[in-house]
């Protein structure tokens, strides 16, 4: 095992299908994941996140460009890459006729782990994912969130050097998400490297050391969540609403985004008082809060992460 955990250069993917125009899902994605890092691909639906993950995990061939995992060329030697990786697929489901305990254990055994190791890791993953009370129930009787937790348990129990998680916390309740996040952080302490995709801003912020914002098959920007927030050009956001709203009056204060009835202005704390005076004069309602990844995303991509 040599080299970066993952490295890609100008990776492209065009889906060709009969009777339909080709789809350019990746238009030259270059990125790297260092060993022991947690990196998130953050992007809207259709941005190309799953496509990248499928290529990286040897399941889909790229149209051009290069990608290496621990120094091995993924496209030329998938067989050499596979022992190092494990994947939580998007919309994957556990076997319906296995229990979570059986699912995790048989998967570890199929990957070649010894019985004792497999048993111990199964128990620990079941516990970390909070699945103890349903560990012996057939997956067909579990809720969507419990099934997803079973998938995550299956994959984290491998402790593979590089883990891919495609939208790992989808369908989970807020408590379960916390458990997943904790477990994933714990894994990187044990030495695993993580590449996950998400369209949840909080997940990307809480979970990743660095993140790449992806849109239309391209990486638009990357950095830590803090760096991205700083790039917005202020540390406070003010959301203004009301019939007296005149957008032009606020454009001098900083970056403005208007979505129909409301206007969001990014400002420096020094100019906040001045801005609020105008708002009061115009009888607008104003909400003030810290800049979040949402504003960074909005500024970089030009649309909200949930916009269709």
């Amino acid at each position: 095992m040599t080299g970066e955990a993952l490295w890609s250069d100008q990776l492209r993917k065009v889906y060709e299908s009969r009777g339909a125009p080709p789809v350019e899902a990746l238009r030259g994605v270059s990125l790297e994941v260092h060993r022991g890092e947690r990196v998130a691909l953050l992007g809207r639906n259709g941005a190309g996140k799953t496509t990248f993950l499928k290529i990286a995990s040897t399941l889909l061939r790229p149209s051009s460009g290069r990608i290496e995992i621990f120094g091995e060329d993924v496209d030329l030697r998938p067989d050499r890459v596979r022992p190092y990786i494990a994947v939580v697929p998007q919309e994957g489901k556990p076997f319906f006729h296995l229990t979570p305990r059986e699912q995790v254990y048989t998967y570890l055994r199929a990957r070649g782990l010894a019985r004792e190791t497999a048993r111990a890791r199964t128990e620990s993953a079941i516990e970390q994912m909070g699945l103890e009370s349903v560990a012996d129930r057939l997956a067909i009787t579990l809720s969507g969130g419990q099934r997803q937790r079973t998938m995550v348990a299956t994959v984290i129990a491998t402790e593979a050097p590089l883990l891919f998680l495609d939208e790992p916390s989808i369908g989970m309740d807020p408590f379960a998400r916390r458990d997943v996040w904790d477990s994933l952080r714990e894994l990187t302490r044990k030495g695993s490297t993580l590449l996950l995709t998400t369209h949840y801003l909080d997940e990307a912020e809480v979970l990743s050391d660095r993140l790449y914002i992806v849109e239309g098959g391209r990486v638009l920007v990357h950095g830590t969540a803090e760096e991205l927030k700083r790039s917005v050009g202020g540390t406070l956001k003010v959301t203004l609403q009301g019939p007296g709203l005149v957008v032009e009056e606020f454009q001098g204060f900083g970056h403005c985004v208007s979505d129909g009835s409301a206007l969001t202005v990014i400002v420096d704390p020094q100019r906040l008082a001045e801005l609020l005076q105008i708002a009061v004069r115009r009888q607008l309602t104003a909400g003030v809060g810290p800049v979040t990844l949402e504003e960074a995303f909005l500024r970089v991509v030009g649309r909200s992460i949930n916009a269709e």
């Binding site: 994947v87 919309e91 994957g92 199929a110 990957r111 057939l138 050097p161």
Partner: protein, 254 residues
């Protein structure tokens, strides 16, 4: 470093045994499917019993071969279902498990579960088929050949579908056409003479013809025996080889 280290890359069937066990656990829940897997064979045997009991030895041997043949249909359905609905390919193929280990593990897991009812038919056939050790051994070899052929075909077919619904129609057409219409349940001698060479080179009916001749139900020339045995051996070897290569190839989408 993480404790999971790659195994020697030379182990082509890595993961097969454990995946077989997984598939066995999964399939073992399907009690009803196991029972109903014998419906067609059972009904045909009853028909033969009513219409011409002297054909029962041939029909029993045919029922065993047909049962092994339709296991390919289960491989087809299971492989497509796991890939499309569960994304199990992503889980199992992006891992140290080899594609051929995945395919054969699944096929053997299904065989292990569904062989039970076949053994039951085999047991019943003791009353009507004049077995000798040689005939028994021939039956086992031919039954496994037919199974290997159909499991490999089933796995290859499974990779062409994007939707489970589309599979049902095709798979039942394929397996019933070659397993019921061709002389598997009835003697080759009742099949139109002009079409017999075709029956002799199609795996289920070739195996059936060899068994029918071994119990003296039909007489085959040496040339016909060589044709049936040769065709079966070549087809099984080729399709198994093709399925392993295809499993590797399709472990990545284009």
């Amino acid at each position: 470093m993480p404790s999971e280290l790659p195994l020697a890359p030379s182990r082509a069937f890595r993961g097969l045994g454990a995946f077989l066990w997984t598939e066995l656990l999964v399939q073992a829940h399907e009690w009803l499917a196991m029972a109903t897997s014998m419906v067609v064979q059972g009904v045909l045997l009853v028909f033969v019993w009513i219409l011409d009991p002297s054909l029962l030895p041939v029909s029993f041997l045919g029922a065993i071969l047909f049962s092994m043949f339709t296991m390919g249909q289960r491989v087809l359905n299971e492989a497509a279902y796991l890939r499309i609905d569960h994304k199990a390919n992503d889980l199992y193929l992006a891992s140290p498990i080899t594609p051929e280990g995945y395919f054969l593990g699944m096929a053997l897991g299904i065989l292990t579960v569904y062989v039970g009812p076949v053994l039951a038919i085999g047991l019943l056939s003791l009353w009507v088929v004049p077995y000798t050790p040689a005939i028994g051994a021939l039956l086992v070899v031919l039954a496994l050949s037919v199974w290997l052929f159909s499991a490999s075909t089933g796995y290859i077919f499974s990779t062409f579908f994007r939707d489970n619904r589309a599979i049902w129609a095709y798979s039942s057409l394929f397996f019933n056409l070659f397993g019921v219409l061709f002389p598997v349940f009835y003697p080759l001698s009742l099949f139109p003479a002009d079409l017999r060479p075709i029956a002799l080179v199609l795996p289920p009916s070739a195996a059936a013809a060899l068994l029918q001749s071994s119990i003296g139900a039909i007489s085959l020339s040496e040339g016909q025996i060589a044709l049936a045995a040769g065709a079966l051996a070549v087809e099984v070897t080729l399709i198994l080889f093709a399925a392993v290569l295809w499993a590797r190839r399709t472990s990545r989408e284009a």
